[in-house]
Symmetry: C3
Subunit: 273 residues, 3 copies
């Protein structure tokens, strides 16, 4: 088997393991994504819990199989919870995903927190091209929380971020995942142009990466979550080309993914960094 | 008429009354459930308002026909609002429902608040089997906010909680409602195995119990709300077996329930406690 | 061309401009509306960002093309963000929309904040008939956040509010928009009786007005956003008469509106104030 086929086998195993273990995933996320990310995790096979207060953060992270931290609409209490949970995750070897929504000079409060959270070594950092490029030290003209850059143009820049995390994932028309373990970039194709028209899909993807991290290695987890989304997005678009119906169909396929569909539709390439 | 048929008549009356009165229901709920619970209440015939700050809690509870308190993702401000609103509800004889999401030793902050709120005598306490069992004093291995127990196995334990509330409701494959008034347990069947795959359905059910409490007795209200959900879930699953479409159909049937459907599909049994 | 046809031409131009510019719209909104309003803005062509903390409010409003402030479920931090962002919007000539959800004596905390925010001269004030009537100084028996009055009966009262804003918009079976520029009232017909059964549609409409304000005059923006909703609601109801499916279809038509549909279905009348 070539390296790509091996990866796809690992994705199938990870998906199967997710269904078996139904891992508890703590999500500290934003007000836009809370419901949607919980529904995506449930549909995908995980058990989400949006515990985001500082008074329960430590004890809850301790019993969680993975943690997802998203900086979309932080409150002071959530910020405290993020620090406590990230620190606890590092201490207890619990995998955790950092999604630095809106990272950049305009949104300084959250960006300072992201910088601080890096010390707790996230397992995976995921974001759109603008966020990852800025986090990698480049100056980017941002436009709120949507990307102004193309993922294919910035993934080379992200290599420096591998000093903080096992994987760096960049969403876009194609997704690119930098893996420290493989010393390579994995390109994941699929999805639909409608996907960025549904809010919080990126945030939900971050939570799904965390769920997969509970059952496999960071590299396989990140590729598996992106492939899960890419196939669901592609099949949903074949079924429905209008945004409301697409979103319903997307959730259908997040839930009904299976090994056959993964084998048939996974579209990944391994590139050099 | 036997006792079951009489109960079903009362459910029909309660549903009709809900449509007529469209009661104002204050919900202090979590970030995952806020939108979904509001949509369920609107579709079911009630008028929801998610007023959850401590500065308006007292005056708003005073004008509300019922109150729903849910501990899913509490903030400090919501915690203060819960205390004020629960106290106000008790003082003004406004029925109120307590949903102790995640109750247990891992989530101590909220659990302490639940213990405190019990002094204001909730009209109904509702939760999943793990939450109710723990609240009844048993040691349960919890897994976040999802249940690890079966409702059929724990409802006997819940009897001690009737010292705090008129009804105790336990969600599961079958729902069990302990009624102080009837000195009995009512088993409600229906729904679908897909229902727990949609987040916040339990939270929305708690809000719907509160809505029914505004128009009928606590016992009928609790049975009516569970029957409303059980029929909608059953009919939705007959129409759609994928999670996205099921959820759309579920909302359709929450809205289009009527006396004929209740008569035809209500599936309840009266058991001894 | 008569005045109505000219207005419809302007609506088409505004819609086209919205697709071209995809303006960044900052929304400080409630927990019920956050996801829904973001999805409506994305589907309509804008780029939403729910930045609602006081630490990033000033810098973010500075780069935003428009701002939407909604008082649905305020927190202390959001209240601070509202003040800062409204003040910043006024200073930087950024159009902003005020949605005084629940305005009235029962909800004093938010109502005091609304009174304070008026000093920063919102571009548009929008609400339901009860809210606008109360804001205009009338005593109204409120029922939570739903209206107890008919928009057709109160729009005359709203004239006094034009000292604070360029437009006053009142939602209802028909919508009425008072324009300072035109010194007239524009009635917008359409929608469906199911629309008030979907939570947060009013909140999302407020955000959409803000989005249009980024690309055209306040008067055209307010009429365009209401027409956008009215046509989507009307066509959605022709396609689906049940609440869950209606909501899916509504989002479909928010996204698939186009100049032909606007020309064919826009139903507006110009009245004297």
């Amino acid at each position: 088997m070539d390296q790509t086929s091996t990866l796809i086998e690992h994705i199938v195993e990870a998906w199967t393991q997710l269904q078996t273990e139904q891992p508890l995933v703590q999500c500290i996320t934003n007000s836009v994504a809370a419901n949607y990310a919980a529904n995506v995790l449930l549909a995908a096979g995980a058990s989400p819990a949006m515990i985001d207060n500082p008074f329960e953060a430590e004890s809850f992270t301790t019993i969680s199989a993975a943690l997802s931290i998203n900086l979309g609409t932080p409150t002071n209490e959530q910020m405290q919870a993020m620090q406590i949970s990230a620190q606890t995750a590092q201490r207890t070897n619990t995998p955790w995903v950092l999604d630095p929504v809106g990272y950049g000079p305009v949104l300084k409060w959250r960006s300072d927190m992201v910088d601080e959270l890096l010390q707790y070594n996230p397992t995976v950092i995921r974001g759109n091209a603008s966020e990852i490029s800025t986090l990698a030290g480049n100056q980017v003209l941002s436009k709120g929380v949507d990307s102004t850059l193309d993922s294919a143009d910035v993934y080379h820049q992200a290599k420096v971020l591998l000093e903080h995390a096992e994987c760096i994932a960049i969403s876009g028309e194609s997704d690119f995942i930098l893996s420290k373990e493989l010393d390579a970039v994995i390109q994941v194709n699929g999805g639909s142009y409608l996907q960025p028209k549904v809010t919080a899909t990126g945030c939900a993807l971050g939570a799904l990466i965390a769920a997969y991290c509970a059952v496999t290695t960071p590299t396989i987890a990140t590729i598996a979550a992106h492939t899960h989304f890419a196939i669901a997005g592609k099949l949903a678009f074949e079924k429905a080309q209008t945004i409301g119906q697409f979103n319903v169909a997307f959730m259908d396929y997040i839930h009904s993914l299976n090994p056959d569909l993964i084998q048939q539709y996974a579209d990944i390439k391994i590139l050099e960094i």
